[in-house]
Structures are given as C-alpha cells and as structure tokens.
Symmetry: C2
Subunit: 215 residues, 2 copies
DNA sequence: CTGATACCGTACCGTACAGTACCGATTCAA
DNA sequence: TTGAATCGGTACTGTACGGTACGGTATCAG
C-alpha cells in the first residue's frame, strides 16, 4: 500500500500537474500557455512535453483528475441504503448540502467552465466529465432512493428521475449564477435552498407507509 | 415606424454583425478571429474596426443582441396575470415548455458557453446576460405567480423563490447535458420533463381555494 | 565507476492573431 | 459636379504561442 519511493520523474511530473491545474483553472484551456505553466512549476519546457506529449493530453489528464477530486466528498457522503425511511429528510438534506457546497467552490466552477468551453473540441472528455461527475451523483442518489422504494409502495417514476429532480432543485439557479460570476451564494443561502428542495421533494414523494398518497 | 432607408454603412454593419455572430457562436470569443469574420462577411478588416472599435466591443454588442433574441419567444409566452387559477397547470406547462425548448437550441447553448467561458474577463457582460436572460424569465414567472397568490391564501415563500424552483425543475439536468454536448434532449424528453416539473410543483403549491393546504 | 537517461536553460521555428497603415475605388451629400 | 467620407484589399507590425532542437548538467542503474 506504500508508494514505492517517488523517483525524480514522479516529482517533476507532480509539480507540472499542480502548476498546470492552477493555470488551467485560472485561464482556461485556450488562455493558458505552456510557458506560464513551466514558469510556475519550475524546470523546463522539454520536460513537460516528454511527460505529457502535448497540451491537449496534459489538459485531459488534469480534467479527469479534477473530476475525481470534485466527486470524492460527495461519494464519501453517499447515503447508505440501510438508512431507514424515517431518516429520509435528514439524509436528503445532508447529501444535497454536500452536493451544493462542492458545486459552488471556485475549483468546481472553474472545472465546469473549462469543460463547457472546450466540450466542443474535447467531446470524449465532456462525456467522461458528466459520467464521473454529475451523472455519478445522480446514480448514487438514485440507488439510495430505489432501495427505499422497494421498501414500501410509492407512486413514483424511476428512482433516477426522482434523483434528477431533487438535484435540480438543490442546484436551483445558484449554480448558474455562480458559473456566470454573478453571485457566489452564501452558506445561509445554500442551506435555505437545500431545505426548500427537501420540503418540495417530500411533498410529492412520501415513502412512509402510513402517509396518504397525494392521489 | 419605418426604418429611414439603410445607408451603406448600416448594410456593412449588419453583415459584419451577422458573420461575427456565427463565428463567435461556433468558436467562442478566444477561438474566433477577426480575419475569419471578415472572410465570411466580405469586405475589409478596417471596416470592422471603424464600426466596432475592437474585438471585445464587437463581442459585447453581439452578446447583448443574442440575449434579447433568446428571451424574446419566452417573453412572448409570458403568462397573463389575468389567467385564472384553474388554468395554472396549463399556463405553467406552456411557459415551461417554451423555456426549455429555447434553452436547448444550439444558439442558446452557444451563448451560454460563451458567457460562461468569458464571464471572468467580461464581468459586466455576464451580469447583463443574467439580468436580461435567465433572471428576466424568473421575474416574469414570479410576477404571474405573485398575482395569483394575492388571489387566494397560499402557504408559500416569495413568488420569486417559487419561480426559481419551478424553472430549476424544468431545466433538470437536460440543460447541463446539452451544454456539455453529452446529449441534446428530444422533444419527447423535454415534454415529459416539463410535465413532471408541473406535477411536482403543484403537489406542493396548490392555489385553488378549496384544496387543503399541506400543513 | 560508467554509461544511459532525464533534466534544465534557452534559443529557435512556424504559425496565428489583433490591430494599423495606406491606396485606389466607391459612395454620398451639398 | 465636386469634395469628403467610407469602403475594399492588402501589406505590415508586434506579439504570443505550441512545439522542437540542442548542449551542458545532474541523476541513477548496473
């Protein structure tokens, strides 16, 4: 499990990745220059190309790493399917809160902007981003909701649709405003938005057996 | 009301705007080149700079025009505040449908991508985009819902919050997927999403006087 | 210790781009 | 008709960038 002593190459590679991540996030793919990355990472231009081949490949590697980094805290907060129905509101709140908090972090916003701007030129990368990022979150929540649904009768669509609806409510337009740089929502705003999302969601979907279905 | 005969300058200006709009939408601000625009519009590079000063100003003018063009069909579908409560579901469906249809059009997607990518470099433009675009749509729907709410008792938050929640449900993740180029939703998918958004919204917010409030 | 390999620094190539300059042709107002 | 302003075409400047080449130096395996 221990790393087998990082070689000199590993060290250079890591330094370049770190510097490139910062530069890409600040300036985007088109705006970033290799020279700027080298200046920040130290070392030489040739080393960058020996390790990563070309600018596009370096970019791709950074994006995939960033997606994993972004999804990690949400995955860690993944609702346990053993959670009982009584805890549904709390579970949704916790999950939604983590999701929204991560989403409006500067790094997440920069990542979204990059992938959207360059998605046309890197279609494969955009697909990977969705599948391992937002799509992954949907599936996690859907798994939880699906297990809950088999638990008792619930006049609802597929769990995946429910998950999408809930996450859409959580995002609200806070994500859009943040992406545009119009307004970074405060913690209080985020908490309130999550709270309202949970309320609206539970008004429609009430898995507790004793409750009367809406119709 | 009649235009006072377009001069030669007006014609050139319009041609440049049209060409620049196409090039910017296809390649983004950074990717687009003035030479490419001139090549498409015909004429000369000097004419572009005489009319618009610099690339950034040309870009700004195009973005503001595009926002207006994008919002127009939604504004046209603006729900009349005279609509009765009985028509609420139909009104929401019609409004949401128009909103979502516009949102996933290629031109809208290109516009969103441009503003998000360059929002850091053009913060004023990003604010204008939000205020006259998505923000405007929220306000229109909020006006309608607000008028309805005064109409009868309704245990709800501000109309603006309700409008945001509804529009978030309509966008779902279809907008995100389309922005990333992962998947352009079909008309059937869009219609279904709107239908479900209306259902979920009405499960929580029922303005008809005879209905029992949720709590 | 020795050879091979990775690294640094820098100079360099080709290209692309924003913006300017200039000239001849065209348009348009007076 | 005449003078001014605009336009087209093109050549040009300066700059920035991706990527390569190369010589000298440090690192590391055998």
């Amino acid at each position: 499990m221990q790393s087998p002593a990082p070689t000199r190459g590993d060290i250079r590679r890591a330094a370049i990745l770190e510097a490139a991540t910062e530069v890409f996030m600040e300036l985007g793919y088109a705006g970033a220059s290799i020279d700027r990355i080298v200046q920040l990472a130290g070392g030489s231009k040739g080393t960058v190309y020996r390790h990563f081949g070309c600018k596009a490949d370096l970019f791709a590697e950074i994006i995939t790493a960033l997606v994993a980094r972004m999804t990690a805290p949400i995955e860690h907060q993944r609702p346990d399917t053993a959670d009982t129905t009584q805890e549904l509101a709390a579970t949704l709140t916790r999950f939604g809160q983590t999701y929204l908090d991560v989403l409006v972090q500067p790094q997440s916003l920069a990542l979204y902007r990059m992938v959207m701007a360059e998605g046309v030129n890197f279609p494969d990368l955009a697909r990977v981003f969705y599948a391992r990022g937002p799509g992954q979150v949907v599936m996690q929540l859907a798994d939880y909701l699906g297990a809950l649904r088999g638990w008792d009768s619930l006049a609802t669509p597929e769990a995946e649709v429910m998950a999408r609806e809930f996450l859409s409510l959580v995002r609200s337009d806070l994500h859009l405003k943040a992406l545009l740089g119009v307004e970074i929502p405060s913690a209080a705003q985020r908490a309130l938005t999550v709270k309202r999302a949970v309320a609206l969601f539970l008004a429609q979907y009430q898995p507790v057996p004793g409750a009367t279905a809406a119709k």
